[in-house]
Symmetry: C2
């Protein structure tokens, strides 16, 4: 199995992008990633597309061949992978596997979603279909409801309160002010977060990530070939995926996601690293409580300490373990299929030292955690600064 | 890269299966495949799911984790791949790649669709969304219309007439009488086929595959480990995938699919084989004309000779190159995501000598061709009889 490099990255603006299809957004991000890598569409041997539901949101199934079609790279194999909000992470992971396994030398991983043109109830229904339709959605549980139960359980067991959750939102909004591609580039106050309207008790508006359009793309090549390309290489050290029951009621504990623990552990094992080696991470803060649970399950903080870490500044951009320096899903935005790819874009930029105003100093290892459903799918990646 | 074996196969009855979800169908086929291989859910290290649209047909996105959930193999990574009617072929191909690349030793590839519970117009709309929504579907083109244009062009250029198309239907219905899992197990006459109602001129009802429920599954392991299992091993010799423009109007020729030519050529190259080495094939006869085009593009018959091959018996079960001895999509049925996996199940059974009444004699190499959209995605596999 070969070592693999991320050699090119691209990402559209995240936000309300108007009259544009997801394949146009993907083409835009992909062109940027290919230009960055110094390759042309002719060089791409295979393509992966992470997208939640172009069918439900855009009336277009079979979205994968649309990408090589719009990029003029005809006949290039293109495969859609879908795992709810973890679709993008799986797109990148399958591109890495395709190169590591020796099947191809130059693979494009992309992800996108186009959602803001739809009525909110249509989007909400689409997202809710990522929970268990038979046992959850049919009883009225949408994801704000599911994560509200996680927040309630976490608060009951560890005292993780509204202030700790608000600290995550305040931090990520502050981070996003330095990300020109973020959907929201303005700070919010604790007061604003804690007094925003209730969505699903105890989660308020500012505990929730927004509805977003956007796309991201990366080019993956063998590590040994990195110097043949113009792009600055970042090394893939670890990757892993885990699945879990669809329904929350089938879990013995909902203050933690087994999938995150397993995927993180397997990614660390593959990398030969431990949580203490990681300098910063992009994690799946679809809700503030999700960031708190993630950084505990990944082994960065003890159980029950994740919320305090945001409150006391440990996870701030200038803290000892910056989390979601991009602004996270909360403020950068959450175009579902793009999110997992955008996490890789951010970690790559930080490791390259090209993250602009939000550049972290002296970072060697960065990690991602991308979540689908109520943690039913988790994908983790660990990247290392190149030479 | 390691050689890979198919070590277990399973398939539900294809047809109208009543009140059952696709994940229940997958679980049923998967249990059969695991029992056949002599493995338990605990042995499965990763799972792939080929499904067109559980969201549009069953109100359930994120269907991949539902499979390990229902099989009790919690935390096993499960990934959905979607490429319209080629979703099943990609599920198998990614399982093969995962084992060949050394990422896992025991992988389950599954595929399913549940469609017969829905009004026909809902299914038709869902399927049509696999064409280009912007340039085709919005103008009223559904797949019977798209393949009718292919049939018209093929007839104009090569004289492939209604009788040749009907010969494909008559053959595949005859083959299905010997397949107890087929949706339709009765012969049809030429007269019946040629006088059935017009669906999209010149394609009549018996030129079209039906709407079907069903699932199929295979277990994939390293070839070198095959004797550790109870299942009778079949060797994977070749596999390849190709993509093409979404819209037919972007092609220079619609009497042929470039994707089939490229995927077949690359599968032959990987296998070190030629079309003349293949003893039988399962190809994607979503419409009779599609089988004709496929066997020409795969190199089995000269351009314009595919229809005559059915008419003169060359592709019959007792002909020199049996095509769709299972009954094909036409008569075995076409539960979208299951189809590409079911092709592998049939070829494996034939190579093992366990195909019952429809067993072909003395077969060493079998091939599959699985098509998505108007040929926008093609996946081909070549399998060899085991030792």
């Amino acid at each position: 199995m070969r070592d693999v490099a991320i050699i090119g990255v691209g990402m559209t603006k995240f936000g309300q992008l108007g009259r544009v299809t997801s394949r146009e957004l993907i083409a835009s991000a992909a062109v940027e990633a290919m230009n960055d890598a110094g390759v042309t569409p002719k060089d791409i041997e295979a393509n992966y597309v992470g997208i939640l539901s172009s069918d439900f949101f855009e009336h277009q199934m079979h979205s994968a061949p649309g990408v090589p079609d719009y990029l003029g790279m005809h006949n290039t194999p293109s495969t859609r992978v879908e795992a709810a909000c973890a679709s993008g992470g799986l797109s990148v992971m399958h591109a890495i596997m395709a190169v590591a396994g020796g099947f191809y030398d130059t693979v494009l991983a992309t992800g996108a979603e186009k959602m803001t043109n739809l009525p909110t109830n249509h989007v909400t229904e689409g997202l809710a279909m990522c929970a268990d339709d038979v046992y959850e959605l049919s009883l009225g549980i949408t994801f704000p409801g599911a994560f509200a139960m996680v927040a309630r359980a976490h608060e009951a067991q560890f005292g993780t309160d509204a202030e700790q959750r608000a600290a995550v939102a305040v931090k990520n909004h502050k981070n996003a002010t330095k990300n020109p591609l973020a959907q929201y580039q303005k700070e919010i106050t604790f007061e604003k977060a804690m007094n925003s309207i209730m969505i699903a008790d105890p989660l308020r508006l500012f505990d929730c990530s927004p509805i977003t359009d956007g796309a991201a793309a990366v080019v993956v090549v063998p590590w040994e070939d990195r110097h043949k390309y113009e792009g600055q290489a970042v090394k893939v050290r670890g990757f892993a995926q885990a699945s879990e029951t669809m329904s929350l009621h089938d879990r013995t504990d909902i203050t933690s996601f087994n999938t995150t623990k397993i995927a993180a552990r397997n990614a660390f094992k593959r990398a030969g690293l431990e949580p203490k080696d990681i300098d910063f991470a992009e994690v799946h803060d679809c809700f503030t409580i999700a960031e708190i649970v993630a950084i505990e399950d990944m082994g960065f903080f003890k159980k029950g300490e994740g919320g305090k870490a945001a409150l006391n500044g440990d996870t701030a951009a200038d803290g000892h373990l910056p989390i979601n320096v991009s602004g996270g899903l909360k403020a950068k935005g959450h175009p579902i299929g793009a999110t997992g790819v955008a996490q890789i874009v951010e970690v790559s930029k930080q490791l390259r030292g090209t993250a602009g105003e939000r550049q972290l100093s002296d970072v060697e290892f960065g990690m991602t955690q991308n979540l689908g459903g109520s943690g039913s799918t988790i994908v983790c990646h660990i990247l290392e600064r190149g030479d």
